[in-house]
Every structure is written in C-alpha cells, then in structure tokens.
Amino acid sequence: MKVCRRSFLSLIIGGAAGVALSPLPLKLTDDSSIWTQMWPWTPVPEDGEVSHVDSICTLCPGGCGITVRKVATMSGDRAIKIEGMKGHPVNDGGICVLGLSGLQLLYSPTRVKTPLKRAGARGEGRWEEISWDEAIAEVVKKLEGLREKGKSHTVACISGTDSGTTAHLLGRFLTVYGSPNFIRIPSIQDSYELTMRLMQGVQASAGFDVENADFVLSFGSGLIEGWGSPVRMIKANSTWKDRGKVVQIEPRLSNTAAKSDKWIAINPGTETVLALSIAHVIIQKSLYSADFVNNYSSGFKEFKQIVLDEFSPDDVSEITGVSASTIESLAKSFAGASKPLAVCGRGQGETPGSLNEFMAVHALNALVGNINKTGGVWAVPDPDYIKWPEVEMDRTAANGMRKARIDGAGSKRYPDVRYLLDRLPDAINSGKEYPVEALFVAGANPVYTIPDSNAVKEAFNRVPFVVSFSSYMDETAANADLILPNHVFLERYEDVPAPVGLQKPIIGLSKPVVKPQFNTKHVGDAILLMAKSFGGMIADAFPWDSYEACLKETLGNKWDSLINDGFWFDSNFRPADWKSAFNTPSGKFEFVNKGLAELVKIEGDEQSYPLILIPYDSMRLASGFIGNPPFAIKTVEDTVLKGNDIVVEVNPRSARGFREGDHGILSTPKGSVKVRVHHFDGIMPGLVALPRGLGHTAYDEYLAGKGVNFNELIGPVEDPVSGLNAAWGIRAKLTRA
C-alpha cells in the first residue's frame, strides 16, 4: 500500500482524535494529580504503636520533666514528640522552645557519630574515624605519658556541671589521676554560692521560693527569659499576675520588664548602688525585720553606717538615673510586702557578676528577714546521695593534687571561690602558671560560651591535647584533637540533681528513650574504661562495671522511685531555722561590708566608644553549650536576625542617622562585627543591645554563620573580691559599614 501524505495526515489526526476521546487523557490527568499527592520526595512518616517515656531534659540546668512520645515501627523506635511532664514539681506540663526541639538534636546531622581523631590541622574539619578501643587507648597513652613526667596536674577538665554522678566520676578520675583542675562552667551560681558562703557561712546553692513570694524585686534578672529554671519561673510569673507584684530594674525593656508591674529603667551597672539606697530607706524608716536583724545578724551596725552615710536616695538618684521618690516608694513597697524577695544575676544568669551586687541584694533579703522563710531565699545544701568511698591516691596523684589550681580558685587571692574558668584563657596565654598539657571538655562548649573568643581560641591552640565528649560537632569539638561522643540525653541514663534556683531538693532521672543512634558512649562509661585501662589505684577507685551499675548503686533505694516517677522529691524538706542556719564565725548572718560601694568598671573609654553594648537573653535562643536547633531559630524574630545579619537594638534617639534596618559596624575594644540596626524605644539612649545565642561557627547550615557571638565582642572583667567575671557590658561604637 502506498502511503501518501494525505493518508498519513489523516492517520495522525484521526489517531489524535481517537486518543483524545478515549479514557486515556482522563486517566493520565487523574494519575498525575494522584502522583502530586504522594511525591516520593515528600516523606511519609512510618506509623506504629505509640508509647510514652518519662524522662528529664538536660539541655539546660532547669531540670524539667519531659514525656517523650514514640512510635514502634518496623525500622525501630522513633521518638516523635517531647512534651512537658504533667505533675513534675519543676515544670508541671510546661516546656520551653529548646526542650520541644530536643528531637532535632537527637536526629541531628551535626551529631558526632563515632569517635573521631583529628587528621588535619586544628579546626580544619578533617577527621579520622576510630574505634572506641583506639580512642580510649589514645587518651590513656597521653595521660600516662604526662603522669610519668610528673605533670599530672597539667591536665584540666571543663565540665558543664559539678553535680550528679557523671561530673563526680570526672572529678574522681581527675583526683586519682592527680590533677586539681576540675573547672565548672561559670554562672551566677558561682556568685550566689559565694554570697551564701560569705554571708551565711554555708556551702549551698541559693533556692528561691518564687511560688510563695508576693513582691519580687529583680535587679535585671531575666525572670521569664531563662533565669533559674526557665519553665518554673514562667509559671511563677503567671501566679504573680494573680497574687503578686514584680518590679524589674533594668536599662532595657526586656520581656521580664514588659511583664512586670513596674519597670524601673536604671543606668546600667549601678544596681548595687540602688540596692544599697533601698537598704538606706528601709533602715532609716526602720522598716526592717527587727527580729532577724537584732537577733540573727552581725555586722549590721557597720552596714547601717555605710548605707546611711553614702546611699541616701538623693545621693544616688543621679548616678542610677532613678528618682529619689521612686527609690523611697520602692523601698516602702518592698519592705511592706508580706513575702518580699530580691533577686539578681542579669538575664539568664550566665555571667557570674559583681559579688558586691549579690551581697547588696542579698542584704535586702536579710533586712526583710526572708532568709530560709516561705517566699524567700533558701540555702539549699548540695545533694548528698553520692556516697562513694574516699579515693586512695598514689604518690603521683597526691603530688599532683597538691599543686595550685591553674585558674587560681581557692588560692590566697581568691580563697572562697571554687572555679574561675574565665581566668583560664589568660592563665594559659600569659604562661604565668604552668602550661596545660591536656584538656577535657564535657557537657560544655567553652570555645563558644566563654567571653573573649579570640583569647579562648588562642588558649585552646596552646593546649597540645584537647579531648571533647560532645555529642555534636560544636565549636569546642571542632577545635579538639579527639572526640569521644557522648550519647545525647534521650539515649542515656543521667541523674539530674537540684535544678538551678529550686528551693527544695529534687533528683531527676534522665532515661534512654531510644537506643543510641550512633556509635557513641556515655561519658561515665568512657571514664570507667579509661580508669580500667590505667589499672592500679586509678582502676581501684572505680569498682563499677558500667555507668548504669554505678548509677544504680549510687542512687540506692531512690532508684525504684526514680525509674517509676522520673524524679525523687523531698517534699518535707524545710530549710534550717535562723538559730542553726548560719555557719559564720559569729553564728549569725553577716552583713559583709568589704568595699560595698565599689562598682564594676567596664572595658573601653568613653571618648572612642560613646555607646555601651549590653547583651540580652531570650527564651527563643539558647546561649549555653547547646546550639539552637532549627525550630528555635525559626521562632526568632526578624528584629533579632535578618538573613545572616544580627540586628542590634538602639534607641532612635541615639541612632545618629542609622535608619531602621541599616547596616553598620559595631566595634568594641575586643572586636568589630557587621550588624543591622533596629530602632527600639524600650532601650535606654546610649546603649546598644545584642542578642546572645547566635554567631555559631560550628554545627550545620541551619545555625552556623547566623549572627554574631556576643563573646567575640566582650572580655571578662575580674571582680576584685571574687575573681569571677563581672562584666555586664562593654563600651562600643556604631559606625557606617
């Protein structure tokens, strides 16, 4: 048959018409739409039987109870949601942004999946995967070498906490090995402990009975911005709405200030003076608790003298920027309240602060007699359930332990503090003390969280051997030589004693919710392995087979209730009464008067740096050792972070030509960074505020490179009395980009 053009065309057209009329187009249309409804690249979460595990969140020292929902699927258990644990004494069902985002940390691609040994230069990011045996052997070899040379004291360990079995195992290991250099990450806990020691003569942490207080006088504490145990504080704040008053003293309208009943904008750094002036009014008008002051305190006379002589409201109103009448009415309302409570420690309380300020504020509590009383400040003794036999040290260890601490804590100059991590970078860099030959970091990210990032990095570079126990590739891990990755909190057992700021002793138990996702090991187990590898007295100090066995034995009869309820709570706990509460030489509460008037001077001169830079904290941004997960970053406003630019707050009056959203360079004596400007009427003119918790260089693309780390712009300022870091800000200038 001859195919002509005409018949060919007819065939094509006829065929097309036929296909068009057939069900095929309809079917294809339908199929394609069904395909769009289940695109293979859009995940379909696998279903399974649902169960719940109660545990404790350890992402911050808050100690909240959590309930984790999980599904049992063909491919193993998946944790799918973290919720606040109903009925938990700390948070009763409430939970914060970071806690809610915990699963993003568990399943994060930034986790260290197996022990890693540095392959390239420090911080270069080239790693060799090694086995746990190799990793432990590596550490032990290094440590044995140092011990043989009598340099056991040159090993230091930075830990996020000093309570709980893991921290005790670390400390114990250091002791039997022969180093005095166990250092806890600094916070206001240091200052409060010191205040307790100096004024009350006790080794205790400060607990605040916020649930019962009815007038809270806060000297810049971010009561609802992460100060203390965050969820508990927010809950307390809600109860104050019904039956209490809050006065916030702060130069910036923080969320706490905005939620308070009265916000008093104070010139930054003059809080001590204001506290003493309030004391002035209270004493002058005899509004103080006569019973407490007369019968249970000592040094009141001298204190009264100083306060009456130098701190009248008229005298201080100019320096503080608070009017005399405000100070007077404030003092009257504070002293007149039935359960007043004064607290301090700026923001989330990550900088220890000025000891004078803490003591001045604590003196206010003493004046109104709310020490160890309902609604007041309680001295909470350190938990004592860890009762292990005293370690027996060999000669090398004993020699090492006799050496002075590298950070100077406990020395003649700083006799009462236990840890001074902020002094460590300088101690290493200046070489005045002995060099640090090996550094262990657990539950902490000092390269990110310690002020003066450049100095910290330099110090790290001077330490020849850095071991990180981090679960994530954080800044410290990235600058380490060896990473021995810990399980994350949802994969491990951990006792969590004494949530920060709580007035009653609670022990929580973190439990494994899912199996370890990677080839990680509990820090406790890693220490046990190291100790066993050493043998001798070091091994003898650790008679447990595993961390879990150690924990179970340590907790003894509390174990069962911890496993069942998730926490152990001594609801009958009452603080010591005034007769027996004070262990000072006088046996009474001491109004300590050493240099009370001295204010902390911040770095930088006013001529070159006309502005003052202060940090601010937010519940949406964790600024501690945990990097913010994507959910947290997503909640951050565009007046805090815009693209990768950090946004600083400036009062329109001191914006000096910078319009909303303009780029600028923010410089301090420590460094310069690119910022964008946000006009905020809630900040005192002359100040610049920068959010903390941003500016990570490690982690993944959801966090790294976003914003600026405040610690790059500020250095520590040593408190003359305690040696702790008391820097609350730094002089700064804003110039055109």
Binding site: T29, S32, S33, W35, T36
Partner: protein, 418 residues
Amino acid sequence: MDSALIPEGVKRCSFGKFIFWLVIFGAVLLWGIVAMLLCWFKGLNQTNMNDAYGFALWIWADLAVIAVGGGAFFTGLLRYIFGKDELKNIINFAVLIGFICYSSALLILAIDIGQPLRGWFIFWHANVHSMLTEVAFCLSCYFAVLTIEYIPLILENRQIDRVPFFHNLSHNMHGVMAIFAATGAFLSFFHQGSLGGVAGVLFGRPFAFREGVFIWPWTFFLFTWSAAACGPCFTILITWITEKITKKKLVRKNVIMLLAKIAGWMLATYTIAKIIDTWYWATVTAPAAGHNFMDFYSNNPLYGIWILVLEIVICGVIPSIILITKTGRRYSFLLVGAVFLGALGACVNRWVMVLQVMAVPVLTFESWFMYFPSWQEIATTILPVAYGIMLIMISYRYLPIFPQEREIEEEKHASIFV
C-alpha cells in the same frame, strides 16, 4: 516564498523580514517558556512572591489582559446584538486580540497555581460559593467561544478556503456567529464580573470589600463595566499600533470613531460609577471596619494616594472627556492618548484590586511590604506579550483580519491611476 498563503489583493513585507521579527519575538517567547518551565519544575519559589504578595505581577497581568481583552465581547455584543454593522470591519481583530488575551490568561493561571497538575480540581471539586469557580467556568467557556470565533478566521486563509469542506464549514460558522457572540457576551459579562467579585467578596479585607446586590458585590459590575469601556480602547490602540507598523490604513476612520465614541461613553459612565463607589467605600464601608480612608494609602512607601489619582482622574476622567467629545476624537494624538489611558486605567484598577488587596495590612501591628518580581516572573509575564505579537503577525500576514484592507488598498491604487 509564502505568497500563496497571503490573502489576495494585499501586500505584505518580505518573507525574510517577517521571519526575522518572528525569530526576535520567538526568542523572547522562549525566554518566557524557560521561566515557565522553571516555575513548573522547581515550584513557585522561583518567583519573589511571598505570603503578603501571594497574588503578584503575573496575576495582575492576567487580570489586566482579561480586562483589555474585553474588547472582543463588547464589540461582538455591539455588532451582533445591537446591530452596529460598521463594527464588522474591526470585529475580526477584536476577536483575535480577545483570543490572545484569554489564552494568555489561562496559561498564566496554569503557571500561577502551586499544583498545576491538580488545576482541574477547580471543576471536579468545584465550590459553587467561590467567585474563582465562577471565573474558571466562565473563562474556559468563553475561551472556547473565542476559539470558535477565531476558527472561521483561520479557515478564510486562501489555501484552506480552497478545500470545499473548510469553505462550507467557515460559511456555516459565520451564519451562527451571532449565537456565539451572544453566548460570549453573556459569559464574558459573568466572568469579568466574577473577577471583580473575587476581590469584592473578601470581607476580611476592608480594602477590597464592597457591598452589592444579591451575591454580587459592586466590584462585580464595575469590573464588567470597565472591561466594556477599556476593552474597545485597547482594540483601537492595537489597531493603531498595527497600522503604524504596517504603515497602512487597515480600518476606516468612521469605524474607529464609532467604537471610540461608544468606548468614551462607557468610560465616562464607568468613571462616574467608580467615583461613587470609591466615595461610598471611603465614607461608609471602610469606616465601618474601623479604617480611615487614608489608612490604605499612607503607609505605602512608594506611591500612596497617587495610585488612586492615576486610576480615577488621569485614566478615567481625562480620557472620558476626550472620547465623548467630537473634537477630542478628531485629533489623532488625543484619541490615541485617550485610548491608551483608558486601557491603562483598567490595568491600574486590576493592580489595585488584586495586588494591593493582599499587601495592605489589616492587623494593626503589621505593615506594608514592598516586593520586586524575580526575572522568572517578568519573563513569564512577557511571554504572552511575545506570543500575542507573534500571533498577530502570523494572523495578519496570512488571514484576512481586516476586511477593509483590500478596499482601502485598491482605492489608494485607483487614486494613483486617476
């Protein structure tokens, strides 16, 4: 080369020149197609649209081409229903412009929706309460009508016309064209209206919301009215442009004058209606929702109240005055200026009623955001323009779009010989 395809008795430029320009516009078209494919395969993240500008550049273009494409239905209505016979000389071109506008509109809609493969859900799962459903149905039906109106034009091509079947088909289709024109006018009335309704029913958006009659807000009628006024303006404008490019007279002046006069009166009445509507909205409707009239205009960082002045005064009052006066129509530059402004007026109106509606903040603690389209959006918006020009080029070259062209040509020749 292609002379056998060119209608008899008219002159066209050389084939080479024709192809040259076709390639130029083809390249622009291709650019648009690349952008379109990017949007389809990678999604709408290719655009700079966002949750405040969910309706953006091309949706505005979409509504604008539908508005100015309204010349087809309105001219058809005048010609077939009201018996304005002179308009048969421009109806073909009006239909062509309408066809281009509506096919472009449908294409843009197919790019604009987030799930193009599910676009047919609008018919399948239709929600009869939605103005957009009404739009979709009327738009597709009217596009079908325009296609039916356009087909006989194609069939009039010299070569196709030779085939007896096509010749007869064409003849018969012409016979029933009045019915289609009537249907088209009816459909067009509704979908122009429902496009107006799209904005007017949004009672959560005080900037757009209007009262009305029965289920239709005032914008329903205003949109139809403005399309009827501005559509013919656009038809005249494009005819004038085509004449300038081809350097010849294609439609007699009396035809243009008639259409211009009608457009003028439509525009004038529309402008009055629009002013009344704006007045009522500004003094009654918006204040009832707590809005000062200037709330809608003062925050905008770029043009503020001037967009309203542009829409009503410059693109409404002024061209109306020109078009309804004999003197105004007589001067070519005034006439062309007026039809340009008239067409622009509809475009500005669509911008205001579509883009602004989403961008104007309603919550007191939100603010205006500005937006600048991405190249993909610009290319996609230009795509139909290039396509339109190409279709006009091809249609003009091979089809007897302008029935008067041959007469005018012959007269010109005759006058030379006289």
